[in-house]
Symmetry: C2
Subunit: 349 residues, 2 copies
């Protein structure tokens, strides 16, 4: 497939992390777009808004007040999807009506006291604070819960209802579908090939270069070979690391630096604060801490919805929901575009 014109002909690519396929039809970018156009993200956000429940010193929906925080700030989600004490529904004998207990906690974490910054515009040390807090929460919640999901919904387009820079952390008494699948795939690969899948993958991508967006001595961000979202990326350490809490001080500094570079490129692509959902996947915790998780490699997924411009997204609808994900440009085309963008943020240029 070395000389195959991947950007001319549709083909399938295999996602070894999800044991599934994606349809790549690069010629689809040629069709004109007459469909829905999104509102561009709000560009003028006040640094402090007395009515924003995430700002320092303000009151939240439940009447509690925020401290006058000057770094990160973590609190319990006022409307948690997971609570620690839900009773067990028990289970029907019927295989078609199976239910199970779901328990957990949902936290919100503000990245910064100011509403008008985002990760790429924050100082490196401030991003390191965020990473340290992530590590702390995984360590803390991971003593009990098998899965601690750190995720950020950025932008109104991604259902984010508050412009203040923040993420969420949902810990659960169960291994959710996506990490359960990823665990199975990584384990099978490890058993077959004797090396962690994503460690080998990072090495191969660092050699091939064509899908690399940014790299440093200890980190690598690529548009994965099997990306489904147009500008999806996978962020990986180069060393074998199981969990975010295992990162060394230098690796956390390196992570802050590469996150700033990657997210600056994202913002520069359409000169807009780039919407996305992102999240960390690492080896499971809780009861899994006692097990061998050598097949795992820590990584972050970035799933940005935009396709053509700041206001035209990729619709993952009909065929994608009913049959299979389909993308309209090759991962190599997406990586090249991102790679060639400046590393200075358009807002500070």
């Amino acid at each position: 497939p070395q000389h195959y014109p991947f950007n001319k002909h549709q083909h399938l690519r295999y996602n070894p992390l999800r044991d599934s396929w994606v349809l790549v039809s690069a010629h689809r970018m040629k069709r004109p777009w007459a469909g829905q156009v999104e509102r561009p993200p709000e560009e003028h956000i006040p640094r402090y808004d007395p009515n924003n429940p995430l700002c320092p010193g303000n009151k939240r929906a439940n009447g509690k007040g925020n401290p006058d925080y000057d770094s990160t700030f973590v609190f319990e989600n006022d409307f948690p999807a997971l609570q620690p004490d839900a009773p067990d529904p028990g289970s029907d004998q019927d295989p078609l009506f199976q239910s199970k207990a779901a328990r957990g906690v949902c936290k919100v974490m503000c990245f910064h006291p100011w509403s008008d910054v985002t990760l790429p515009l924050m100082k490196k040390e401030e991003v390191v604070n965020v990473i340290d807090k992530w590590a702390e929460l995984v360590e803390e919640l991971g003593t009990i819960y098998p899965w601690v999901q750190i995720f950020e919904n950025k932008g109104a387009m991604m259902g984010c209802s508050n412009p203040h820079p923040h993420c969420q952390v949902w810990a659960s008494n169960f291994l959710p579908n996506e990490p359960a699948l990823s665990d199975r795939c990584q384990r099978a690969y490890y058993e077959k090939h004797g090396e962690p899948m994503l460690l080998q993958y990072a090495k191969r991508e660092a050699e091939k270069k064509e899908r690399v967006v940014v790299e440093s001595s200890d980190w690598l961000a690529v548009v994965p070979y099997w990306a489904t979202w147009p500008y999806q990326t996978l962020l990986l350490p180069r060393r074998h690391v199981l969990r975010i809490s295992d990162l060394t001080t230098e690796e956390r500094e390196g992570l802050a630096a590469i996150m700033k570079r990657l997210l600056t490129k994202y913002d520069n692509l359409f000169e807009v604060s780039f919407p996305y959902s992102m999240g960390w996947h690492g080896a499971p915790t809780g009861p899994y801490l006692k097990e061998d998780n050598s097949h795992w490699q820590l990584h972050a997924h970035y799933y940005p919805p935009l396709l053509r411009s700041a206001t035209v997204k990729k619709f993952m609808v009909g065929y994608e929901m009913l049959a299979q994900e389909q993308r309209d440009l090759t991962p190599e085309q997406a990586a090249e575009k991102l790679r060639n963008l400046p590393e200075e943020h358009y807002k500070t240029r």
Copy 2:
């Protein structure tokens, strides 16, 4: 779990068609919504628009003219994601960089010559024409292709770029992820229980009644026990039917009637032309026609995005993309709401 207050406590439910779980957190509906509000669907669509490439007699992007059709009209998609002649990329030896040939055809099917009607507002005989055409296409394309995906993206919110009532049919030389998973799950169930999963499921739901939205002597529409989208439904025949092309004349008439009832309720829910993606799943075709597919039962999935109103959708983002789907009302609550709506369309009342 008979007396468990499912609408009070979060819990997990199992989806036997996808071998995965959904997190049901009904109390989440209580949180106020300050996030993105969609534009309501356009309400005034002209019956005929000289610039709409789907109207009878008009020219399309490729210069071809539409006939003066007066029923359904099928043509090749001018920007197909699947073409019949794409060369085989071959495959790398590397398990991390696997590609495969993808070949197929993409068709568009107009339901009606008028742009200002939708399926629930069409006459029953006109909907029967649509069903007959679906059956014909599955039969025709199914002689060669293993999978023929009929799907409808309805509404701008679902990436639909043309208000003229239409659907798409994409046939492929491969079994896409979703039907491949569904095939595995139905087969395993059949081997274990000796009866098709969805035939048994329809019987149980018809007895239980609590998730039924509409039913007739030969069809049943339920909000499935494992629904992920707020008002998702599953439409099933009561008889064991493998493919849409196997439906009898009476079953096609019954299907037209129940589709009109279900879609009228959808439109009545928020008094708006209800957006959704829908599609048919039946036993695979092409080379599979020679195999035993008794484990299959024909069904349609409806995936509508709206949650709270005509302009507030459910965002399947962060946690859903990275961890697991989560819903904010129980399937029973959704079914009850839909069931209690009138069967007369709000536009003709």
